[in-house]
Symmetry: C2
Subunit: 492 residues, 2 copies
């Protein structure tokens, strides 16, 4: 099924409707927004097996994975709904007047930025797409959402969009609170990002795509924030003490992490760094043996399979790169073959091609001469979503420079576990220094993601009865606030 | 006295030293940072009258104002020191593991971004300059600071820089935690902003300057955040009920607010909007009479006086603009003459020159035909630091569209008071939509300003003893945290 690309005129209409919807939607109660988000979850579930079948057809992801991803998406919607109601994201602060110091009464809270444009990911048709984390967090903040459907799963996206519209209608949300736009070319994206009614942008995808949106947004007359999550090779450092203790078990963990869902995760471990020696040899032998046993599986769409094949071939033919293991099964058209390669740290420093993400079931092992070289690799890396240290407590205590360098390049620092698996929770940080994302200060998973779509406003000298509920003396929303520098949920 | 411009090589050395200092400084305890900031305040006070004399000579600001500004700056340093110790800015969040759901232990906190470059303001030689709010908040966050001295008060800046260095030495801070660089041309600024070790930038000044820094920072290979505060005309809406009650008193308030310190405040009310009729006439007559009695005073430096004179003349000769009142006293070289002009809303809509800031003791009164036109003026305005409503409670209740439009264009919404006067407090929002600042999501005054220099990092699956103190089970810093979605300052 082909969908009609939106014209510039249609985009203009969609954005004007979103702006009008915002005038009402931002004044809906937190409980009403929460109910709307929960209703979206119910409508997604009500689509039953039809939705799963459509997603399987478009993404080639396995049924169980898609079932689980929908469950996760419904959970995300519910957890943003709860966060919306709890109101921590409002960041209510009150400083009462001090007349003798001529100090005015100040009350500050977060307010929604305005209509938000969301570009979903190809690899998560539910959780990072139409009704995914960006949409849910923007709706929680009080922002209308305009989703640009991912062309690789436009039919799935259309079904989810209808579910959202159904939920909006049943909850009495204003017309235009959600819109769905199709478009395969970059013109649709550019028109959306540069439209004067667009207040912020969320994106999950390639560096080229995410950076283009960032640049367009900054070149506007009034720049707007862009939260692009663009990719990451998620380095894993194997520290010597840990490797001595558990080289084989560590290898087994990574055979699974590298190949899970054909390696199509933004947190897939694409780089493993160890120090040459017998323990690393044991790790690599075990890793290679494991990878050979994993059968190739079909990738999300032919474009991704082609890109994987090309980037993998390019990486493997670089000077100093040795192919360590390839799946021993036959590779069919559209599949990605699990692959492990190795290179020295010196080859890595000399060749930027080896720093690039090969999106799929591929990982490169870097052999360092010593810890100093391992630290140098960490300092050499660009920004990442995650960095993992496979390490004993003693490894951590003895290698402070590596720990600091690892921290500097990532948003999430993992000890002794694979980076795949992103828990939806307040303390999650899914984001990282550029080029992993365009803004390391925000997360796209967990309730703090709501903050992306808000800004603070301070009310000075307002009568209590005229203030928004979040800032009134009586604290009718029963939220936690900072009152005269004290944390409290009491009335003032 | 002339200061040597920093060369590119010197800037490179300064930035590398700052980066090295950061490796230590970010690990200093919150109490040590706080002590350092308080020591800066003491050293500034110890400079006594010498510092005030130098600032008077360079800025022409009156002695009392400068005394008060230093007191405010010392208070700012102390209040950021207290905020640093209280640790709310760390935003510590803990989600404990749920083994049966395979959910990892996650602990998130804010960490410093790295070396911060600060460009001070010409109009606040202390409070928004060398040891001003940007410097204090960045030091609180754990970031070394490099200040580019404002050429208009380079001598004052040099004295304050020496005070900071003295405090750093006495508190045992690492070499390079603070540096001071001179340079009048844009090359110095560009070299600082584009240096790979620069992690963030703070600026207070003109639109041209602040926007240039923003563009350079976004065009870097790794973009970095820029917090430019660039100017504002701070519209004041006179609502009909209030004007009927208190036209004369309101006018008196604004005579003072427009001309305070020769109008050289970023929150100076440059635009006053009323609805035609006898009450507005009373207001204008009183405002005009008051302005005529205010003697011209010397502006910060000849460049600012020249710019005021030119922009004022340009504004006054626009079609439809009538000069309502000018100070009746003789204007000496370098002084700014208090001036009030008036125009219709129609003239205002038609002519973008009338939307521009005239930095100095100048304000333009816009006469609207009715409330609909007043709302149209609000919607027409660009982003502002503040918007003020002079209104009765009934005015507010009856004019929701105006209130919403006023909120959308500002960071601080004031009821019945002049916008001049910026309280240093947590609930303050000193910032606003573009072009008032480059990032409406942050404040440059109050403890939330610390957040500008930080980003979150999540520790997954770390042993308690290896975690930073802020995230340990025992809560040794005694800070407020979110633990499993609950607000608490208890140990876990």
């Amino acid at each position: 099924m082909k969908f009609q690309e939106a014209t510039i005129t249609e985009i203009d209409q969609v954005m004007e409707r979103a702006w009008k919807a915002w005038q009402q939607y931002r004044h809906t109660g937190l409980d009403q927004r929460a109910e709307f988000m929960r209703a979206i979850g119910r409508e997604m579930e009500a689509l039953g097996q039809d939705l799963i079948r459509k997603a399987m057809e478009e993404t080639h992801l396995p049924e169980t994975r898609l079932q689980n991803e929908r469950t996760r998406t419904v959970f995300q919607l519910a957890s943003y709904a709860s966060a919306c109601e709890a109101g921590h994201w409002l960041e209510a602060r009150i400083d009462t007047a001090i007349p003798e110091k001529n100090a005015a009464d100040l009350r500050k809270m977060q307010v929604p930025l305005g209509p938000v444009v969301v570009f979903g990911a190809s690899n998560f048709p539910f959780a990072y797409s139409t009704a995914g984390g960006d949409t849910a967090s923007a709706l929680a903040a009080g922002c209308p959402v305009i989703v640009k459907a991912h062309p690789a799963h436009a039919g799935t996206s259309e079904m989810v969009a209808q579910a959202i519209l159904k939920a909006a209608a049943s909850c009495g949300m204003p017309d235009g609170v959600f819109a769905h736009v199709h478009g395969a070319g970059f013109e649709t994206g550019k028109a959306l990002v540069t439209h004067p009614r667009t207040s912020a942008v969320g994106f999950t995808g390639s560096f080229a795509g995410g950076k283009a949106l960032f640049d367009w947004a900054n070149q506007r007359k009034e720049p707007v924030p862009v939260f692009s999550e663009m990719g990451s090779i998620n380095p894993v450092f194997l520290l010597p003490g840990k490797l001595k203790q558990a080289a084989k078990e560590t290898a087994k963990t990574y055979v699974g992490s590298i190949t899970l869902d054909t390696g199509q995760f933004c947190t897939n471990p694409g780089l493993i760094i160890g120090i040459d020696g017998p323990d690393l040899d044991i790790f690599m032998t075990e890793l290679a043996a494991g990878i050979e046993t994993i059968a190739p599986t079909t990738m999300l769409h032919p474009g991704i399979a082609k890109a994987y094949s090309e980037k993998r071939s390019q990486a493997l033919k670089q000077d100093g790169v040795a192919t360590m293991a390839v799946s021993s099964a036959r590779v069919e058209e559209g599949q990605g073959a699990p692959t492990i390669a190795a290179a020295t740290a010196k080859a890595f420093f000399a060749n930027p091609v080896l720093h690039q993400e090969v999106f799929g079931p591929y990982s490169l092992v870097i052999r360092c001469a010593d810890m100093a070289e391992m630290v140098a690799v960490a300092r050499h890396l660009e920004g990442q979503l995650t960095t993992t240290l496979m390490a004993t407590e003693q490894d951590i205590r003895e290698n402070g420079a590596l720990v600091e360098a690892a921290k500097d390049i990532c948003g999430r620092l993992i000890l002794n576990g694979p980076p795949t698996g992103v828990r939806v929770a307040l303390a999650m940080q899914h984001g990282g220094p550029f080029p992993a994302t365009t803004d390391s200060r925000y997360t796209s998973v967990g309730a703090d993601g709501i903050r992306r779509w808000t800004r603070p406003i301070c009310f000075q000298n307002w009568a209590d009865s005229l203030l928004p509920e979040a800032l009134r003396n009586g604290n009718p929303l029963h939220i936690w606030r900072m009152v005269d520098d004290q944390v409290t949920n009491a009335p003032r």
